[in-house]
């Protein structure tokens, strides 16, 4: 049958309709809303990316790094790290001075700055934020102790402050969080007047300032806000910081604006050597914050992050692994194209260590040191870093990262991280003899089943098979993995940690007998000599003697080999040239107040980015 003529007339009509439809669609898509401006074009806005959504903006229960990154612009702590100085130095933020410490190191008296106000909010009378007082710190720490609040930060204060554990016991008898009487006296946590906070410790805790009082969990929260918002306080932050929350579209976007009642601060006038040359002191003495707004977009995938960065819509990003070749040369420098686009590269050591851990409570591994050593010698760490991190990370010769004051500069020469397959085979033979039979297939728990985890698992499998050891890599989701480790049922596990303070204690506490699983000692390692030194060092302030003790403890651990330490991370960040004062910091998060945008440069560079695609 020939439908030719009829078909052509049909197509002709449809074409007209399609053209009309296309015009209508174009109007619909471009017309309504149009390209709404990103606010006032003269406004200084910082554009950041979060690679996962934040959980909440309540400092008392804040533990994930992304929530802390945002929350630290809104909330402030008593102490913070100096933005520029290295080694890292703690300075007063909401405190007037550094604390007065009693000779027995048990009583800390802290004077609070005057003239600090909570941001304006409907939770206050007339909507005007009131002045910050010492009682706000008392309330905020008691709130963490309140068991009905279910804070994930309680472990920080467990058995630390006189009377606080008893207060926690009392809260158990209350029916709800709101029923808890926070005016109840806690002997070790008092405000002697509106401007003086007194903390009495159960035993010396030299890390009180760095681990607790500079940690966002102790940032003061107004009782009025807690009472007014109840459980919804996670999305209604009321802080004293330089910024306040403007918009939070959960899962996608967060915008902070200047806090108009912020007391004002000045950009630091001193830094470390080389800061002036690097331009970090160009703004010395100027009032901060510089930016009017700070914006975070939640982008979980690398491609859109990278494309937005190349469009100039994001100020800084990590080096995307899929675009590594486009960004970096084999020598670890920026490619010509990146230089042409005025993109800057910043690399910085990260206080982290990653390892393949051995469960010392396991019947096969725990009593077999040659086996553990054989595994450690079988892993080519340098190759691992080249394969998985483009050669950017550092080999972990010990457990304390090089940026820590207690890092042992001689540790590399001691050869604990050496790759020696022949020695590994010899050790494996010894292990076989010690075990008394053929070694069973060992199991390695790896968190995650994504491509990276699988490749990592295959690398370990291949390394150990090369010396004649049979292993099975078990990929699992994070909760299953955590449960396995916490219940001491994992044999070997891939893990790592990042220190929250410049003190190496975070790493050493992972090997203290009393911290065994479900505590931080996931290795279930126990050595009386180590414990004795740990207890001795635990109450010591930062001094060369303590560093020496730390080094001795590190050697004890490395000799016993409860883990094959693999690598220390090296941060690698790209930013546009218009993004000023971008000095990486390993421990502080409230840094947006220091960042500045060179607006003229941004406009010029954006044109350049449009031209060169």
């Amino acid at each position: 049958m020939n439908y030719g003529k009829k078909f052509s007339s049909f197509v002709g009509l449809r074409r007209m309709d399609l053209v009309m439809a296309a015009i209508a669609a174009a109007i619909a898509f471009s017309g309504c809303g149009g390209s709404a401006p990103d606010g006032d074009s003269n406004e200084m806005v910082l554009y950041h990316v979060l690679h996962t959504r934040i959980k909440g903006l309540d400092p008392g229960d804040m533990r994930d790094v992304y929530s802390i990154m945002v929350g630290s612009q809104i909330f402030e702590t008593l102490y913070d790290y100096h933005f520029l100085k290295r080694p890292y130095e703690l300075i007063p933020l909401l405190a007037k001075d550094m604390p007065e410490v009693s000779p027995d190191q048990l009583v800390y008296t802290i004077k609070i700055k005057r003239g600090v106000y909570f941001q304006d909010d409907v939770c206050f009378t007339d909507g005007k934020g009131r002045e910050l007082k010492a009682q706000d710190f008392v309330f905020s720490i008691k709130r963490i102790a309140n068991i009905k609040y279910l804070s994930s930060n309680w472990s920080l204060f467990d058995d630390r402050i006189v009377g606080l554990d008893e207060f926690r016991e009392y809260t158990k008898s209350c029916k709800s969080e709101a029923q808890v009487d926070c005016s109840r006296t806690v002997e070790g946590l008092t405000a002697s007047d509106d401007w003086t906070l007194v903390i009495k410790l159960t035993k010396p805790w030299p890390q009180l300032i760095s681990a607790a009082l500079a940690d966002i969990s102790t940032a003061p929260v107004a009782k009025e806000a807690v009472d007014y918002y109840g459980k919804d306080i996670i999305s209604h932050p009321v802080g004293t910081g330089p910024y306040k929350l403007n918009v939070w579209r959960r899962d996608s976007y967060i915008e902070l604006g200047r806090n108009p009642t912020f007391r004002g601060e000045l950009y630091p006038s001193a830094g470390e050597e080389g800061d002036a040359e690097a331009g970090y002191l160009d703004d010395a003495g100027k009032p901060i914050p510089f930016a009017d707004r700070v914006v975070w977009t939640v982008i979980e995938e690398y491609q859109p992050t990278w494309l937005l960065f190349l469009q100039g819509k994001v100020d800084a990003t990590v080096v995307p692994k899929d675009s590594y070749g486009e960004v970096m040369t084999e020598g670890g420098e920026l490619t010509a194209k990146m230089k042409q686009l005025n993109i800057q590269l910043k690399t910085f050591p990260d206080p982290s260590t990653y390892w393949l851990g051995f469960n010392m409570a396991d019947g096969v591994l725990g009593n077999n040191k040659p086996l553990r050593l054989a595994i450690s010698r079988a892993i080519d760490r340098q190759k691992f870093i080249e394969l998985f991190f483009n050669g950017r990370h550092l080999v972990a010769d010990g457990l304390i990262p090089p940026m820590m004051s207690s890092y042992d500069p001689q540790i590399k020469q001691k050869g604990y991280a050496r790759y020696d397959p022949q020695e590994a085979r010899n050790l494996l033979e010894d292990a076989q003899v010690l075990y008394g039979a053929k070694l069973p297939t060992l199991k390695i728990a790896v968190p995650g089943a994504d491509t990276w985890s699988r490749q990592f698992g295959q690398f370990l499998e291949r390394s150990l098979r090369a010396i004649g050891l049979e292993v099975e890599v078990q990929y699992m989701d994070l909760p299953t993995y955590q449960e396995k480790i916490n219940t001491k049922s994992a044999q070997m596990f891939a893990s790592g940690t990042t220190a929250g303070t410049p003190d190496g204690q975070d790493f050493l506490s992972m090997f203290y007998t009393k911290n065994a699983s479900p505590g931080p000692n996931k290795f279930n390692y126990s050595n009386p000599d180590f414990d004795r030194l740990y207890e001795q060092a635990e109450v010591m302030g930062d001094c060369p003697q303590r560093d020496e003790l730390y080094r001795r403890m590190e050697i004890i651990v490395l000799e016993d080999c409860p883990a094959a330490f693999l690598n220390h991370r090296v941060g690698c960040v790209l930013h546009h040239d218009w993004y000023k004062n971008y000095k990486p910091h390993a421990f502080a998060y409230g840094l947006s107040k220091y960042r500045r945008i060179d607006m003229a440069k941004r406009a010029a560079d954006k044109e350049l980015l449009k031209k060169i695609k």
């Binding site: 390209s35 309680w154 926690r168 996670i234 955590q482």
Partner: protein, 312 residues
């Protein structure tokens, strides 16, 4: 028909109950205790116990009026899903996500259906010609390209390189502009499979005698195709189209993630990766109700488009 509808509505009770039993068993009994995760990595026993109490995990699983299962049933029937693990009410999450999800999936759905049904009529009409062969080749090629490739190439070329669309969701742009590129990609990626399916349906229909008779009577081609052929081919079309509607509410997992559209697909992915059983349970329950409802609507539509079908 009324009796049929009532009977079908009654059938939904055991189906929904079954879904609730299944989700409860999977997440609570098989999935294990989540209090350890909620507590954080260094939490002590006391904190873990308190969390168990707060989330009702200390109650018996089944054999009590105040058991976890009975509470699960009560909450589901009253649509009181409680709070997610991040302490935000789940219903707020769903309300917030449904708009962006539908703004993305409805245009994709309509675009794919309208274009593929229209094109399938044309392609079926010119069957055996070079145009038909070309259309089939393009369809197969489109089906063979992974969905992710459509996204990556679309985002790179249409968004970044040529700058026709925004690369990523921006709250400063209208929703229409934000979803334009993902909608276009969704339509392009969905056309291949749909066009092939509808082409087969239309080909079957075009071979019937009434089509030849209609043309012999001198009817226009548009009238024959869109009034007669399309109407008679509606049963398989309706089956495919109406049953797809419940899934529109679930959003598009990949598109939402790559374009930052804060919809329900994204919510579901996040809930799965963080083992937020409270959110997964709520979403599964709502999906089950929608699937059952749209199954019933499909049956009713059969009667409306084809008088030969009778519901008994």
């Amino acid at each position: 028909m009324t009796a049929y509808i009532i009977r079908r509505l009654l059938y939904t009770i055991p189906i929904v109950f079954g879904v609730l039993v299944l989700t409860f068993t999977l997440f609570t009994v098989v999935g294990g205790d989540i209090s350890l995760e909620i507590a954080g990595k260094d939490a002590n026993r006391q904190t873990i116990d308190e969390i168990r109490k707060e989330y009702g995990l200390d109650k018996p699983l089944f054999l009590s009026w105040d058991s976890q299962f009975v509470n699960h049933l009560k909450n589901a029937l009253t649509f009181d899903f409680g709070r997610a693990r991040d302490r935000e009410p789940i219903i707020d999450k769903i309300k917030r996500g449904i708009g962006p999800s539908l703004a993305l999936t409805v245009p994709i759905f309509l675009g794919v259906v309208i274009i593929s049904v229209s094109l399938s009529l044309v392609v079926a009409f010119v069957r055996g010609t070079v145009w038909d062969i070309l259309a089939v080749v393009i369809c197969v090629a489109g089906m063979s390209v992974p969905y992710l490739s459509f996204i990556l190439f679309g985002q790179y070329f249409l968004g970044y390189k040529w700058g026709f669309f925004p690369v990523f969701f921006s709250p400063y742009l209208s929703l229409a502009r934000n979803v334009a590129l993902p909608v276009l990609i969704g339509i392009a990626a969905g056309l291949g499979g749909n066009l092939r399916f509808y082409r087969t349906v239309m080909l079957d229909e075009m071979q019937n005698d009434y089509v030849r008779t209609a043309f012999a009577k001198g009817l226009t081609m548009r009238r024959v195709l869109f009034k007669h052929v399309l109407k008679n081919a509606m049963i398989p079309v309706i089956t495919r189209v109406v049953l797809a509607i419940p899934f529109l509410f679930l959003g598009s997992l990949l598109l939402e993630r790559f374009f930052g559209i804060p919809g329900l697909g994204y919510l579901m992915v996040e809930a799965i990766s963080s083992r937020d059983y409270f959110v997964i349970g709520a979403m599964t329950y709502i999906s089950a109700i929608l699937v059952v409802a749209f199954n019933l609507i499909t049956d009713i539509c059969y009667v409306l488009v084809d008088p030969r079908v009778c519901l008994e």
